[in-house]
Each structure stands twice: as structure tokens, then as C-alpha cells.
């Protein structure tokens, strides 16, 4: 059962990473224009980040 000592922290870290990433996407306004983002992927222009 000693393997648990590694596995549990690892699983928590991975989950936490996902959460941190989600928090980052919310903070950088990535859910403000879902429809526009879906279309922007089709355009050839270089688009750095959603800013509004």
C-alpha cells in the first residue's frame, strides 16, 4: 500500500493543475465570446489572445 503515498499526491497535483488552468482561462476572459472564438480558428490572421 506504500504506493498510495505517491499516487494520492500525484492525482491531487494533476487535478489541481487542471483547476489552476481553468482559473487561468476564466481570468483571461476566454469565455466571453465562445461563438467568435469558434469562428476565429478559421481565419488566417494571427490572433494572440482574447482581450475583451
Amino acid at each position: 500500500m506504500n504506493i498510495l503515498a505517491y499516487l494520492i499526491p500525484i492525482s491531487l497535483c494533476l487535478g489541481g493543475l487542471g483547476l489552476a488552468f481553468f482559473v487561468y482561462t476564466v481570468r483571461t476572459n476566454q469565455y466571453d465570446d465562445p461563438e467568435g472564438d469558434a469562428h476565429r480558428i478559421l481565419s488566417g490572421d494571427y490572433d494572440k489572445s482574447p482581450r475583451n
Binding site: 500500500m1 498510495l4 494520492i8 492525482s11 491531487l12 487535478g15 489541481g16 487542471g18 483547476l19 481553468f22 482559473v23 476564466v26 483571461t28 476572459n29 469565455y31 466571453d32 465570446d33 465562445p34 461563438e35 467568435g36 469562428h39 476565429r40 480558428i41 478559421l42 481565419s43 490572421d45 494572440k48 489572445s49 482574447p50 482581450r51 475583451n52
Partner: protein, 730 residues
């Protein structure tokens, strides 16, 4: 949005979209003006890049970003760039563009509450997944030290997660308890806290059952319900705000003979204000110069334009029709009659505040019920066993199992589905209980002008006019933007008549148009100017040389499908009533045309509200549909109210639902959808109760395990959500 944009710009100056924009920003170093334009026609990737690259090429633009979801473009411009210029520039790119008033949009600028909820939802989701993982290990047979370890880890995750994610419930529960009331959040908070408390105690004593996962999933599901609820209302709110923002509150002030554009807030009593034809009076005032006609329909419901001459007083909200007018302001801002009327309405008790929502009704029954049940279970077990620990565990289990997971989702899941469906049909549900109230309606009162009619006019006696004279009338009408003149041109075009070739067409504001034709003077206009006899119908007169004076009559143009919609509502069993401030013959004619038997004409705003109130006292549930300021009091007094998007701002604010398109068909769709939605909500309550009826005896008997609690909770929440989705597919 504005603030966020500014922030990100200043935080990362290098992130500006194009090199050109960078260069401009670097050169100027002045604070930029933030401009928002509404672009109702954009729909694809090509539109986005065309608008953005086009705007970025404009010298006055620092950066531009399109939001396709909101159909807006956000522009950072140099301070001396005007909104009108940019809107006109976007029009040249081939897209319809309207200026939006930044102040009216500010409320939805940053959806802070939504973001906060989303963040809490994410934390609750993350924590509940991890704790569930550990719980599954415990349920499938982890024992002794391993089980204790898992419980301790679960506690370490749950406590901070719930402390963060559960705050909305704790806050609501506290504010309800402080005024000695119970709401849905009180049992929720108690269940979460009790579950955490007993689980912690159990863990410390290395007990078998811990409810950490239940407390977290409960928080997660309830937050999901709250978030759905919030999204639905945020979408409706931002669309409603956009309607308001489209009316940019600006006026042209004359100062020492020079015109300047100012905001309404800057106007003061005694200012000279210029109102061009087609413009709305920004203030109450007295006409100092100019002759024109005024459209008062939004204020009084009258369709007939009235003459405006120097010395006459005008009220804010009236529309100037023919000639430019110069006003001397006598009341501005909050003192205008428009605002005073709107304020009066705000004081009146509204239908919506009298209504207790289904969720509140359920909470009233439910909250005391579970508390008593759980307390009884505690007392019962304590008396039977004298074991505090067992008694507390069972009380907690009862609270958790009855906890309104499904109840919390029952209403928002349905309203989200229904509002989404109606939004696509062109209806904006502004108020949270609007659908429930709409479902109870049995009487519908329509306003006439602007609601059943479009506010535009059509020629009534086009056939009886000789073709030659009609073509003369058309030629004259082309020289004016008066609604009657426009109606004549439209009627002529649809009848295939060509306008006569006239020379020297001249509009005489307040009277009509005149021109020369074959050496004779021809006139189209008011009765006494052309030598006609005025009647009670809306009419204009044509005089061609020495020929007889021809009378051209008009009536309000019905909205497309008005007849079908009224028919459909009649058939659905609603009582229909027509209520207008317009003259009796006009209302009578329209009522006859639509087959409405109950009608009232020449009703003052107070009469309208009185009628609605007296109907309410007789027990009728009234749906009021109106657009003018004279309807606002009635809109507020009604059980539920709808106004078209073309309505005055005050009327839209007073109503629960806004009709976006130009036809009336969505109203009957809304009524059926509202009924279906209320049925779903009741079904959802029944489903939630059924789960409780099965699970509660188990909990009271002490047979409930965390596994049973988790199963009951998730399956009831999922059933309720799926039931709500049935509404969307139909």
C-alpha cells in the same frame, strides 16, 4: 468589458493587435476613448476579420475587437474620434452598425457575479471528483488505517473547498436568518455544515461513514443550478441593456449660433436645443423657432400628428416629424414630464412583487419540513439509544438525503431551457418569475398604436384616387420624410404607379409640400392649407391647380400576423381586450378588423392602470402588452407584461418580457411554452419528492450509507435536468 480591456492593455502593452495600432498608441500617449458599436448583421469568420482589419486601418482607431456572441465591436480610439464617424466607417465596410451608449452597457461590462460562480463551481467540481475517488475506495472495502487516511485526506480537501465554494449559500442563509425567515439556503447550509461536522467527528473516532463527498457533490449540483439561473438572466439582461444603449442620449445644443453635440446630462434649463426631423425631444421645452409636426403616439397613443409652432410647449419623448425645431429647455433630465411619469410608475406596486414563485412556495413547505424531520430523527434515536453519536449521524443523514439538490435544479433547469427556446423565437425573458406568471394568464390586454400596429401608416383609399392624381401625390410625397408622405410613396410603389415629374418641390414645415406641374401649383398637406375639410380620420389633402381637393385617408398599418396571432390566442381560450389612447373611430375600426369585441378608446394612462387593477381584483390574471409611456403604469400593474423592442425605454423597463421581432406570433408561443415550463417545474418537484419518499425512511431507520446518499442525490438531479431538457426538443 471596457475595464477588462483597459487593464489587459496596460498590463501588457505589447499585446496590441497590429503593428500599426502599436505605432499609433506610441505616438499619441493620450488616454483612449472606448467605443462600442452594435453590429447586428455579422455572423462569420470573414465578417470578424473584415471589420477588425478595416477598423485597425482607420487612423482614429488604436485597436478593435469583435465579439461575435454579443454582435458588438469594442474599439479603443483616439479621443477626438467620434462614434458617429466610426459607425459610418463600418457601414462603408458593408455592415450595419449602431452606436451604443457606454453608460447603459456598463452593468454587464464585466459579469463579475457570473465569473465568481463559475470559479466556485470549478472548485466544487474539482474537490468533489477527488473526494469521490477516495470515497469509492472506501465503499469498495478499504479498512482501518487506509480508510482513516482516506477520510483525513477527504477532510483536508473538503473543508477549504466548501469554505470557498459554499459562500453564496452561507451568505443567503445568514441574510434570511437575520430577518428571522427561512429560505431554501437555510436547510442547504445546515446540511452542508452538519455533514462536515459529523464526518469530521466520525473521522476523528475512526468511524465507518463520512459524508465529505455528499457535502461536496451537493454544493456542486446546487452551484450548477445557480450558474444556469445566472447565465439565463445575464443573457436577457445584456440584450435588454443593448436595446437601451442603442438610444444614445445626446442632443444638439446651440451656443451663440454654433451647434455642439452634448450628452443629456450636460443640458440645463434655458439652453437652446436643435431637434432635427426624425429626432426625439430630449427635454421639456417651448418651441423658440421653426414649424413642424409632432408624433405623440409613444406618450399618448394618438396616431394623428399635431402641429408645432413657436410658443408651443413640447414634452420630452415626442418625435419631431417635418421641420427642424429649436427649443428653449424648460425642464431637463429627471424633471422632464417623461421622467416624472416613469418615476410615478416606479412607486406603484407591481404585479411581479405580489407574486410568490414556485421555488419560494416549495421552500416554504420544504424548509420547515426537513428541519422538523431531522430533529425528530435525532430526538427519537437519542431517546432510544442514549447515543449522541448515532443520533447525530442519523440526523445528518436525513438532512443530506432530503437536501434540495433536485429542488435547486428543478426551476433553473426548466427556465434556462424555456428562455433559450423563446429567445430563439424572438422573446427576451427579463424577469425570473415571468414564465410562471405568464402560465397563469387568462386575459390579454393589447395596446393599439405601436403594439398591434407598427406605428407606420398605410393609405386607406388608394383605389378611389384617379391614377394621375395619385402619381402627383407621389411626386410631392417624395420630397418629404413625413410618415404620411412615406405611406403614400409605399402605396404608390406597390400599386405600380410612377411618381409625376414635378419642378420646384418644396416642403413647408408644418403644412405640407408644394411644387409646380405643367405651370400649375400642386399642394399636398393639411386641410386648411390645401382647402380641404378636416375629418376625424387621419388624412392629407391633394390640390392640383384648379382641380377638386382630393382626400387621402390613412390607417395604422397592422403588424404582420397580428390577425393570425389574435385568432390563435382567441382559440387558446384567452379573453382579448383592446385598450388605446387613440380616438374612438380608429380603435373601433381596428377592433372590428381583428375580431376583438372588448375595446376601450381614448383611455388616459391612469384609466389603463385602473382597468388592469379592477380586472385583477375580479380575480383575472392579466397579460398587458404595450409600448408607450401611457402604458407603463398598466404594464406594471398587470400580472405579467410584454413590450415590443420599439417601445420607449420606460415601457421596456416596466415589462417582464421584450418582444424583439416585428410580428406578434411569439406571444402565443410564449403562452404555450410558459404553461409547458410550469408543468415541467411541478413534475420536477414531484420527482424530487418521490426520491425523498423512498430515501427518507431509509435514513430515519439508520440504514442510509454515504453510498446511498450519493446515488439518490445524483440520480434525482440527473432525472430533473433531463426532464427539463424535454422542453427544448419540442
Amino acid at each position: 468589458m471596457t475595464a477588462a480591456l483597459r487593464q489587459s492593455l496596460s498590463a501588457c502593452p505589447a499585446c496590441t493587435a497590429t503593428p500599426l495600432a502599436d505605432a499609433v498608441a506610441a505616438q499619441t500617449h493620450v488616454p483612449e476613448a472606448s467605443i462600442t458599436l452594435s453590429l447586428p448583421t455579422i455572423h462569420c469568420a470573414a465578417c470578424i476579420s473584415k471589420v477588425e482589419t478595416g477598423l485597425n486601418r482607420h487612423p482614429g482607431v488604436v485597436s478593435a475587437r469583435v465579439n461575435l456572441t454579443l454582435k458588438r465591436v469594442q474599439i479603443e480610439a483616439t479621443p477626438n474620434t467620434s462614434e458617429e464617424a466610426l459607425a459610418a466607417y463600418v457601414e462603408t465596410l458593408g455592415y450595419e452598425a449602431h452606436e451604443l451608449d457606454a453608460d447603459a452597457l456598463s452593468a454587464t461590462a464585466t459579469d463579475k457575479a457570473g465569473r465568481e460562480l463559475l470559479m466556485r463551481l470549478a472548485v466544487a467540481g474539482f474537490a468533489s471528483m477527488n473526494v469521490m475517488l477516495l470515497s469509492v475506495a472506501v465503499w469498495s472495502g478499504a479498512t482501518d488505517a487506509t480508510r482513516d487516511l482516506f477520510h483525513w485526506i477527504s477532510a483536508a480537501i473538503s473543508l477549504p473547498a466548501i469554505a470557498f465554494a459554499g459562500q453564496p449559500f452561507f451568505r443567503n442563509a445568514w441574510s434570511a436568518l437575520r430577518v428571522r425567515r427561512l429560505n431554501m439556503d437555510v436547510p442547504i447550509t445546515l446540511a452542508i455544515l452538519l455533514a462536515l461536522g459529523t464526518s469530521l467527528w466520525e473521522t476523528a473516532l475512526s468511524g465507518h461513514h463520512a459524508y465529505f463527498d455528499a457535502a461536496l457533490t451537493l454544493t456542486f449540483f446546487l452551484l450548477a443550478g445557480r450558474y444556469l439561473d445566472h447565465r439565463t438572466r445575464a443573457v436577457a439582461r445584456s440584450a435588454a441593456e443593448e436595446l437601451t444603449a442603442l438610444e444614445v442620449p445626446r442632443a444638439t445644443r446651440l451656443k451663440d449660433g454654433v451647434e455642439e453635440q452634448v450628452t443629456l446630462a450636460e443640458l440645463s434649463v434655458g439652453d437652446l436645443i436643435l431637434v432635427r426631423p426624425g429626432g426625439r425631444m430630449p427635454v421639456d421645452g417651448i418651441i423658440a423657432e421653426g414649424i413642424s409636426e409632432l408624433d405623440r403616439s409613444l406618450l399618448t397613443g394618438e396616431t394623428l400628428p399635431v402641429t408645432a409652432e413657436p410658443g408651443q410647449s413640447v414634452s420630452a419623448g415626442e418625435v419631431n416629424l417635418t421641420g427642424p425645431l429649436t427649443l428653449r429647455a424648460s425642464a431637463v433630465g429627471r424633471d422632464t414630464s417623461l421622467h416624472r411619469m416613469a418615476d410615478l410608475v416606479a412607486i406603484a406596486e407591481s404585479g411581479r412583487s405580489r407574486y410568490t414563485s414556485l421555488a419560494e412556495q416549495a421552500a416554504k413547505l420544504y424548509a420547515p419540513g426537513v428541519h422538523i424531520l431531522s430533529a425528530l430523527a435525532f430526538v427519537g434515536w437519542y431517546v432510544a439509544t442514549f447515543d449522541m453519536r448515532t443520533a447525530l449521524n442519523i440526523a445528518a443523514a436525513v438532512l443530506i438525503i432530503t437536501c434540495p439538490c433536485a429542488l435547486g435544479l428543478a426551476v433553473p433547469a426548466v427556465t434556462t431551457a424555456a428562455s433559450g427556446r423563446l429567445f430563439r423565437k424572438g422573446l427576451l425573458i427579463k424577469h425570473e418569475t415571468a414564465l410562471e406568471r405568464l402560465a397563469e394568464v387568462d386575459t390579454i390586454i393589447f395596446d393599439k398604436t405601436g403594439t398591434l400596429t407598427t406605428g407606420a401608416l398605410e393609405v386607406l383609399n388608394a383605389e378611389s384616387l384617379p391614377k394621375k392624381e395619385f402619381s402627383l401625390a407621389m411626386g410631392l410625397a417624395q420630397g418629404s420624410s413625413h410618415p404620411l408622405a412615406k405611406a403614400i410613396v409605399t402605396a404608390g410603389q406597390s400599386a405600380g404607379i410612377r411618381p409625376a415629374e414635378l419642378t420646384g418641390v418644396e416642403e413647408v414645415p408644418g403644412y405640407g409640400t408644394r411644387a409646380h406641374w405643367n405651370g400649375q401649383e400642386v399642394r399636398l398637406g393639411r386641410a386648411h392649407w390645401t382647402g380641404g375639410v378636416p375629418g376625424d380620420q387621419t388624412a392629407t389633402f391633394l390640390k392640383a391647380g384648379d382641380g377638386p381637393v382630393r382626400r387621402i385617408e390613412f390607417k395604422d398599418q397592422l403588424r404582420p400576423d397580428a390577425k393570425d396571432s389574435i385568432g390563435a390566442l382567441h382559440q387558446a381560450g384567452y379573453q382579448i381586450h383592446l385598450l388605446s389612447g387613440d380616438s374612438t373611430p380608429a380603435v373601433q375600426a381596428l377592433a372590428g378588423q381583428l375580431g376583438i369585441t372588448q375595446w376601450d378608446a381614448e383611455a388616459l394612462p391612469a384609466d389603463k392602470a385602473h382597468l388592469v387593477q379592477s380586472m385583477a381584483q375580479k380575480g383575472q390574471r392579466v397579460l398587458m402588452i404595450g409600448d408607450g409611456l401611457n402604458d407603463t403604469a398598466a404594464l406594471r400593474a398587470a400580472h405579467v407584461s410584454i413590450s415590443p423592442a420599439s417601445a420607449l425605454d420606460a415601457a421596456r423597463v416596466a415589462s417582464d418580457i421584450v418582444l424583439l421581432g416585428s410580428d406578434l406570433n411569439p406571444i402565443s408561443v410564449a403562452c404555450t411554452t410558459a404553461r409547458a415550463a410550469t408543468r415541467r417545474i411541478r413534475e420536477n418537484f414531484a420527482i424530487a419528492t418521490l426520491y425523498n419518499v423512498i430515501a427518507v425512511p431509509l435514513a430515519i431507520a439508520g440504514l442510509a450509507t454515504p453510498l446511498i446518499a450519493a446515488l439518490a442525490m445524483s440520480s434525482s438531479s440527473i432525472t430533473v435536468s433531463l426532464n427539463a431538457l424535454r422542453l427544448k426538443s419540442r
